[in-house]
């Protein structure tokens, strides 16, 4: 065993990268759930984002365009869910699940000719002086731009939900859609916008995996991150900063367990492999003891005539 081989600075820098896809997906789903909609299709929207982003980046040579396409594709797929649940009044759980299955299949089909191809590389941020600082440099100033976008998104969602009128309306729709409707707010329209925002974020998260974290395309490469994002939103009590904490915790334990393995720690690999899930759930359960509850209208369909 040689724990000194683990470099804490690099560890923190790589846990931030490992956590970012989860961060994107979870913050999107948080907004969706705040509006009272439960979309279980996160995994499907992520994988569609991953393949759309990858294909676009390969064809155009620009990773940035890839991310734009990924957000578009994720949002596009979520429109399907929105139509089913908001207009056709379909069951949200069933629609979300089918969205995931559909996304996985469709992405495999779309990605057929992209297996094993090298995507264009995303440039890392390179600020003269700052990026070269010891410790702080690699952790704070040495990443790709999308990682900062994810953190900014957390801050923005938090600020909007807590301080702005838009956030108030969103919460009203999510807590009691009948009351919000009586006040004259367009419940269905607001929810559709929230669903599309969630889809776009999930798409970005997927593309982050296929364009930066791996970078490569393979079938089913999101490997359950979408489901973890869903769980994370619940355990984070629908609070943006806790989502950030949970995502970094999860990413951190994931990276640490590989580091421990490489350093030769004599813990069976299977325990190390399950540790990210266990530890993240444990910590967030303890945190969520403060009785903050789910949006009251979560998962309930709204119809103006009822």
């Amino acid at each position: 065993m040689d724990l000194s081989a683990i470099n804490p600075v690099l560890l923190i820098a790589s846990l931030m990268v490992a956590a970012t896809p989860l961060l994107f997906a979870a913050i999107g789903e948080l907004v969706v759930e705040k509006s009272g909609v439960l979309n279980l299709g996160v995994e499907g929207m992520m994988i569609i984002g991953a393949v759309a982003g990858f294909a676009t980046a390969v064809e155009t040579g620009s990773p940035m365009l890839g991310f734009v396409a990924a957000a578009g594709a994720g949002a596009g797929l979520s429109v399907l869910f929105a139509v089913l649940t908001q207009y056709a009044q379909a069951n949200q759980v069933a629609s979300g699940l089918s969205l995931t299955l559909f996304g996985l299949g469709l992405s495999a089909l779309m990605g057929q000719s992209y297996v094993g191809i090298k995507p264009p590389q995303m440039q890392k941020l390179d600020i003269p002086v700052l990026s070269d600082l010891p410790v702080v440099g690699p952790i704070l100033f040495g990443h790709d731009p999308l990682l900062y976008v994810a953190i900014a998104l957390i801050a923005a969602v938090w600020a909007v939900i807590k301080f702005s009128r838009i956030g108030l309306v969103l919460r009203a729709v999510g807590e009691n859609h009948d009351a919000a409707h009586a006040l004259g707010y367009k419940v269905v329209r607001i929810r559709i916008i929230a669903i599309m925002f969630g889809g776009g974020c999930a798409g970005l998260g997927g593309a982050y995996i296929s364009l930066i974290r791996v970078p490569q395309w393979t079938e089913g490469m999101t490997a359950g991150i979408g489901w973890i994002a869903l769980a994370l939103v619940v355990f984070a009590s629908w609070k943006p900063w806790r989502v950030l904490l949970g995502a970094y915790l999860f990413g951190g334990v994931t990276v640490v367990q590989l580091n421990l393995q490489a350093a030769g720690v004599a813990i069976p690999v299977e325990y190390l492999a399950m540790s990210p899930y266990l530890i993240t759930i444990l910590v967030l359960v303890i945190l969520s003891a403060d009785k903050s509850s789910a949006p009251a209208a979560l998962g309930r369909n709204f119809h103006a005539a009822r």
């Binding site: 790589s14 974290r213 490569q216 490997a223 994931t254 590989l258 580091n259 393995q261 490489a262």
Partner: protein
């Protein structure tokens, strides 16, 4: 039970049908563990399949199924292939061993070929390549090239084939560089680019400047390229799109001659079960071009090793070699027998860590 009866009778019906219509093309099935576009293991098996088609033209008909999970699902896929009238089925991953044996018992008239396994039957032959010979060449290059003296190794599953590779690479790296140290991460997958990339990144962060992989995707190559100053080797396929750096050489599997010979044997009716285990000499294991990033003297040492392995003057496991716990395994000059190699489940002396159970 009923289902089994049904399948057996169906198989017999197919058997009769094939006998009656001798002019029918020979149908050869392939079961793949990854996508044919993985650029590694499955890609090379598919190249072998294409070679069969090119060789026999319309006298053969090939079918393949990709991305078949190891385990019960494989049994379903193989059964389906046999039911569709395949005469010869290649199952190309270690985890298909028991499914292949199970299905073969129900279809006595269909011939099966299982790659890298050790269970045979009258209609199940096994074949594998002596990848560990390639690992010996890689180890030689790795030992010379590493500056940090840390070599990272991404293992897939702790099975004899993978352990042989680790041991062989370690022995030969140690031979040219006594200070070398191996860090091993088990990915528990043959093909999962995300996991492989994570494993490679961690190994690089812990100081490894050579990454060896026994997984099939090019993700570790991409991670090494992003890190810079790290060298890698193509696994199963050349992966030359990552050369000349980080990829400095590769182990290439060449299944085409074997697949053609076995298909021919089925056509001629001379097919018999058996075990084929060929290496560099027979051409089943190829060493990809060693790139210019490798200094000339290292390249020569590697090629000399390759030549000695090819003509049989040197065996990759030649004593004195001790096991990890220090007990003697091979005496001076003694070479390992195939039986021990086929079931190898221990590290040699000097490798740290335990093999997961």
């Amino acid at each position: 039970m009923k289902l089994t009866n049904l399948m057996t009778s169906a198989a017999m019906a197919f058997g009769l049908a094939t006998a009656a219509l001798a002019d029918d093309p020979t149908k050869v099935g392939f079961v793949y563990v990854g996508p044919v576009g993985d650029g590694g293991w499955t890609y090379e098996h598919d190249q072998g399949r294409k070679a069969v088609v090119a060789e026999f033209g319309d006298k053969v008909e090939t079918v393949y199924v990709e991305n078949v999970a190891e385990g019960p699902d494989a049994e379903r896929v193989i059964t389906q292939m046999a039911l569709q009238g395949a005469d010869l089925i290649f199952t190309t991953s270690f985890g298909y061993m028991d499914p292949t044996i199970n299905v073969a018992a129900k279809f006595p008239n269909v011939r099966f070929e299982h790659a890298t396994g050790y269970k045979q039957a009258d209609n199940v032959a096994t074949y594998s390549a002596r990848f560990y010979e390639g690992r010996a060449v890689q180890g030689t290059i790795a030992g010379h090239m590493t500056k940090s003296n840390i070599v990272g190794y991404i293992g897939s599953y702790p099975i004899p084939e993978v352990i042989r590779g680790i041991n062989s690479a370690y022995i030969h790296a140690k031979k040219v560089n006594p200070d070398v140290e191996f860090k091993i991460v088990w990915a528990f997958t043959w093909f999962d680019p995300a996991k492989e990339a994570d494993a490679a990144k961690v190994l690089i962060e812990q100081g490894a400047d050579v990454i060896l992989q026994h997984t099939d995707s090019t993700a570790p190559q991409a991670a090494a390229q992003a890190a810079g100053n790290v060298i890698t080797f193509g696994q199963a396929s050349d992966m030359s799109e990552y050369g000349p750096l980080p990829r400095v050489s590769s182990i290439i599997d060449d299944w085409a001659p074997y697949y053609i010979a076995r298909t021919q044997a089925v056509m001629d009716g001379t097919w018999v079960s058996g075990n084929t285990w060929d290496g560099i000499g027979a051409g089943m294991v190829g060493i990809g071009e060693i790139s210019d990033a490798v200094p000339t003297d290292v390249k020569e040492a590697a090629l000399a090793m390759k030549a000695a392995l090819a003509d049989g003057s040197y065996h990759a496991f030649t004593g004195p070699i001790n096991k990890q716990d220090g007990s003697a395994w091979l005496a001076d000059g003694e070479v390992a027998d195939d039986g021990t190699l086929a079931g190898m489940s221990f590290y040699v002396e000097g490798i740290e860590g335990d093999i997961p159970q």
